[in-house]
């Protein structure tokens, strides 16, 4: 028995126990789950540290751990622990059924760990599919909307899971093995290889939530409980989807340039279109959900360049995204808990009453918008350099680079809207300084925002050299030497941070030697109006980009997006219903119709039989 089984088995067994826990134990379940998640994280660390031998049955390697798997395993353990902690502080008794919620959470932890350590592709597909079940159950919270969205999620993920199985079969045809850790680097020339590459990439993109398989992410973000969203679509699913994509690109196949270019374009399109959609959202969770789609674009783009710095940047972005996006969801959860709202129009002014949450949210929002020197900037910057380094693919780099950089400005725009409508701006009702989010909720947020800063300042020294490059050990062309060669004298975030702090100190000195210390409070000036008349003037987040949304071409685009023209699932659903609509017309319950169809069918069969036995041909 290898040690590698334990991070999978422990949470699944405990999860099953939690599921069956009697009602009387409900209030202890959260602590029980926190301990289980912490133990799992501990097991993950042990596995990575001890590098245990792989688990082999009948000569088939089932579980094994290499660099990339270790990275994902640690990430899964870490984020699961933080989210379970947050959940323990987030839900009041009676909000949810504890056994149902924590059981599902632990089950997803086990399945995600399974994906990270699986070496056999069939086993990977098993855990991959298993991960969809708790997600379905967590989204399906009982409301009608939750039911629809859960069904949609299950269909998209389940559908692409079957595509993954086809891809695995094709991989087996090419290599004669299900072991994906063996560096087979199948050249993509045969039909089987092409089929395999395309199928597995589709599955990876759907799990990560890239376009055009993205539509379940914003919907699920809106309906599932916040900590579950922060854990599954925002962090674990991204880690796993990009993990599989990286495996396809780095070890399983030798990817031709045409596939790289196609993936780069998918990435660039995902960045821009998803962020355009995000800008116009009025629901905080949905907005964050669209960003969870948009950011995938950078990861896909980075990995698809195939250059050392691009791949490192893409994987680094995967990690960074999980950090700041889950932090943002957690902050959104804290705001939601405080106000009971998710609509931007009904929040506002929370910075004054929840200062620590505000600070965490600002750091994460700036990180996702790529403000230097935070971690989001560091990884985006690497992806950009990777794009430029991939010049051998023609001028496609110009298009994707512009899309990626412009997408960054749009990301900033929609987070300005969030910060305005949730934390700053004009509050809809006077906010009393009341209860802060509890320590269990604050700690994960502050840890994550601290990581945003830390991984930003020490992007190369800590993020790349200590985390990403060891994960890519053994992959040709991507090592410290190749990385440093491209980046001789690179973006020194450490120096830059010291300089930026120096500038802040200059500013502070200006403050301190002036009237700043004697600041006076006064009502804000609203064109001379006072009292209730001044409060009538209110600028809501909904209005922020209204003028942009009403511009000629965009207006149509947004209208079509609202009508779900660009929702692959919705289109398929409509097509299905259109076809079944015709079939339904045939099912009218009138005997004559059925008899007619039977006769027509018989005639067709008879004609075909006669024709195939050359009876008809000879007769004519």
């Amino acid at each position: 028995m290898s040690l590698l089984i334990w991070p999978i088995a422990l949470p699944i067994i405990v999860g099953a126990l939690v599921f069956c826990a009697p009602r009387g134990l409900a209030k202890y379940l959260k602590w029980f789950s926190v301990v289980a998640a912490a133990t799992t994280f501990g097991l993950c660390i042990t596995c990575v540290a001890e590098a245990p031998p792989s688990w082999t049955v009948n000569g088939e390697v089932l579980l094994a751990l290499d660099g990339l798997g270790s990275l994902v395993l640690l990430g899964v353990g870490f984020f699961s622990l933080l989210m379970t902690l947050y959940s323990a502080g987030f839900f009041k008794p009676g909000d949810i059924s504890e056994s149902y919620y924590y059981g599902n959470i632990l089950l997803s932890v086990g399945a995600a760990c399974g994906v990270a350590v699986a070496s056999n592709l069939i086993l990977l597909a098993l855990f991959w599919g298993l991960l969809g079940i708790p997600l379905y159950l967590l989204i399906n919270t009982g409301s009608e909307r939750g039911n629809t969205v859960a069904k949609k999620t299950l269909l998209i993920l389940g559908g692409t899971d079957s595509v993954l199985l086809l891809g695995i079969a094709a991989f087996f045809v090419s290599t004669g093995s299900f072991d994906m850790l063996v560096k087979s680097q199948v050249p993509v020339v045969s039909v089987a290889a092409w089929f395999g590459v395309i199928c597995i990439i589709i599955a990876a993109l759907a799990k990560a939530g890239a376009m055009p398989f993205h539509t379940w992410v914003p919907d699920a973000s809106e309906t599932a409980p916040v900590p579950a969203v922060a854990m599954l679509p925002a962090s674990l699913d991204k880690l796993l989807g990009i993990y599989l994509l990286a495996r396809v690109f780095l070890t399983m196949y030798h990817i031709p340039n045409s596939v790289k270019i196609a993936c780069m374009l998918i990435g660039a399109g995902t960045i821009v279109f998803a962020v355009m959609a995000a800008m116009m959202q009025h629901n905080l969770r949905r907005l964050l959900g669209f960003h969870a789609v948009s950011q995938v674009g950078y990861m896909v783009l980075g990995i698809a360049t195939g250059t050392a710095i691009g791949v490192v940047g893409g994987l680094f972005h995967m990690l960074n995204h999980a950090i700041y996006k889950s932090c943002l969801f957690l902050a959104a959860g804290a705001a939601e808990k405080r106000t009971g709202e998710t609509e931007l129009a009904r929040m506002g002014g929370l910075a004054k009453v929840m200062p620590l949450t505000f600070v965490a949210a600002v750091v994460a929002a700036f990180a996702i918008s790529g403000i230097p020197p935070l971690n989001g900037f560091a990884s985006k910057w690497m992806v950009y350099n990777g794009i430029i380094a991939a010049k051998d693919m023609g001028f496609v780099w110009v298009i994707v680079l512009v899309a990626a950089m412009f997408g960054s400005a749009l990301t900033l725009a929609s987070f300005v809207k969030v910060l305005h409508s949730v934390f700053l701006g004009q509050p809809k009702e006077p906010r009393q300084a009341g209860k802060q989010p509890g320590i269990l909720m604050l700690v994960p947020m502050l840890v994550l925002s601290g990581l945003c800063i830390l991984l930003g300042i020490f992007a190369v020294r800590l993020g790349v050299n200590k985390i990403i490059l060891p994960a890519l050990a053994g992959i040709e062309g991507i090592d410290e030497a190749a990385f440093n060669q491209t980046l001789a004298g690179s973006w020194g975030s450490g120096t830059a941070t010291i300089l930026l702090i120096a500038a802040l100190i200059v500013g502070l000195i200006i403050y301190l030697f002036s009237t700043f210390t004697r600041a006076r409070e006064d009502e804000s000036y609203v064109g001379g109006e006072v009292g209730t008349r001044a409060e009538m003037y209110n600028f809501e987040g909904v209005e922020f980009y209204k003028t942009v949304g009403e511009m000629p071409l965009l207006k149509n685009l947004y209208k079509q997006a609202d009508a779900k023209w660009y929702d692959l699932y919705e289109q398929l659903r409509r097509t299905t219903f259109y076809i079944t609509g015709w079939l339904r017309k045939l099912h009218d319950g009138v005997l004559h119709t059925y008899v007619t169809w039977c006769v027509v069918g018989l005639v067709v069969i008879l004609w075909w039989l006669l024709y195939s036995y050359k009876i008809l041909g000879r007769a004519f």
Binding site: I388, F406, L412, L419, Y511, F539
Partner: protein, 318 residues
């Protein structure tokens, strides 16, 4: 010791102090030219300095119920960003130093002063300031697309160079990028974007004195307002200098003659900005965004395509 020289560069030359002096000088030129256009005498040379010092002595007022952290923190972000860009450009031009990919860092840092105005606006708990902030953000979204496109022209022409020093060296060796058709178009596009970045008429919707009474900055007073004004002066140095370095040949070599030529180019850009702002009315925000996403972006795309074709076929004048 590297960090000490970096700090010296950042705070004294060619960073903060140098930029502040030059920025004040240039904002004086801006005001003087404006005055001459309007048949006025204009302020004395030291007026920008006196303005700043006076603001430092004025009372600080905070809107009731606003987050003080965001309200007072916001101006500092902009100051830091402006000094950083100015230092990067200055170090590249004067000392020929830089790091890999600093062009991208510069593009991102150039957003910080605008972000500072936005954060200050939304932290003011004032609807007029929020309107101003939303306009500033829309403007950024508008001009950022053509700005990035136009800045890719030199990158393409130099064969994927992402270092400011690399771009400068390429220009010292092969002549300025603006000497080609694509370069000229890119320069025009960048000048228009620069006008918006600086928040000068016709792109001053965020402050719009007549309708928003100062917009995003409406609640600011005293030292915090002084920092915003100072940031704007620093940007008056940093942005045109960045354009000269990236597109217009830099100093044309580090000789006295070259530096004089660089200063002349820089002053031409400054006077051009002043003249544009004095001869145009303010656009409405949706018109501004439409302008940048329409005509200007099309121009920028043309320049990128020309540059790509020119580089591919090896035609220098394209």
């Amino acid at each position: 010791m590297k960090i000490l020289t970096d700090l010296w560069a950042f705070l004294i030359f060619p960073g903060f102090v140098f930029m502040a002096v030059l920025g004040m000088l240039v904002s004086w030129i801006d005001r003087k030219v404006t005055a001459r256009v309007q048949y006025r005498v204009g302020p004395p040379l030291l007026q920008p300095l006196w303005d700043l010092l006076k603001l430092l002595g004025k009372e600080t007022v905070v809107p009731r119920g606003a987050s003080r952290l965001a309200f007072f923190g916001a101006p500092l972000i902009g100051l830091a960003g402006a000094v950083f860009v100015g230092t990067m450009v200055g170090v590249a031009m004067f000392f020929g130093e830089g790091f890999y990919g600093d062009l991208i860092v510069a593009i991102y840092m150039l957003v910080l002063p605008s972000l500072a105005i936005i954060m200050g606006g939304i932290a003011s708990k004032n609807p007029l300031a929020s309107v101003g902030a939303s306009r500033e953000m829309k403007l950024i979204v508008g001009y950022e697309l053509p700005f990035i496109l136009a800045l890719l022209v030199p990158v393409i022409q130099s064969g994927g160079q992402l270092r400011l020093t690399g771009l400068l060296e390429h220009q010292y060796a092969n002549g300025s990028f603006a000497a080609s058709i694509s370069g000229v178009i890119a320069l025009v596009v960048v000048i228009l974007c620069m006008q918006a970045k600086m928040g000068l008429v016709p792109f001053d919707q965020a402050e719009a004195e007549t309708e928003l009474t100062g917009g995003a900055l409406i609640e600011y007073s005293g030292p915090a307002l002084a920092i915003y004004k100072l940031t704007k002066m620093l940007m008056f140095y940093a942005v045109p200098m960045f354009v000269v370095a990236v597109l217009w040949g830099g100093f044309g070599g580090l000789t006295a003659w070259g530096i004089a030529l660089g200063v002349v180019k820089y002053l031409v850009l400054v006077v051009l900005m002043t003249l544009i702002r004095n001869t145009n009315p303010r656009l409405r925000i949706e018109h501004a965004v439409k302008f940048f996403w329409g005509v200007v972006s099309v121009l920028a795309v043309c320049s990128v395509v020309l540059a790509a074709i020119g580089t591919y076929l090896g035609i220098e004048w394209m």
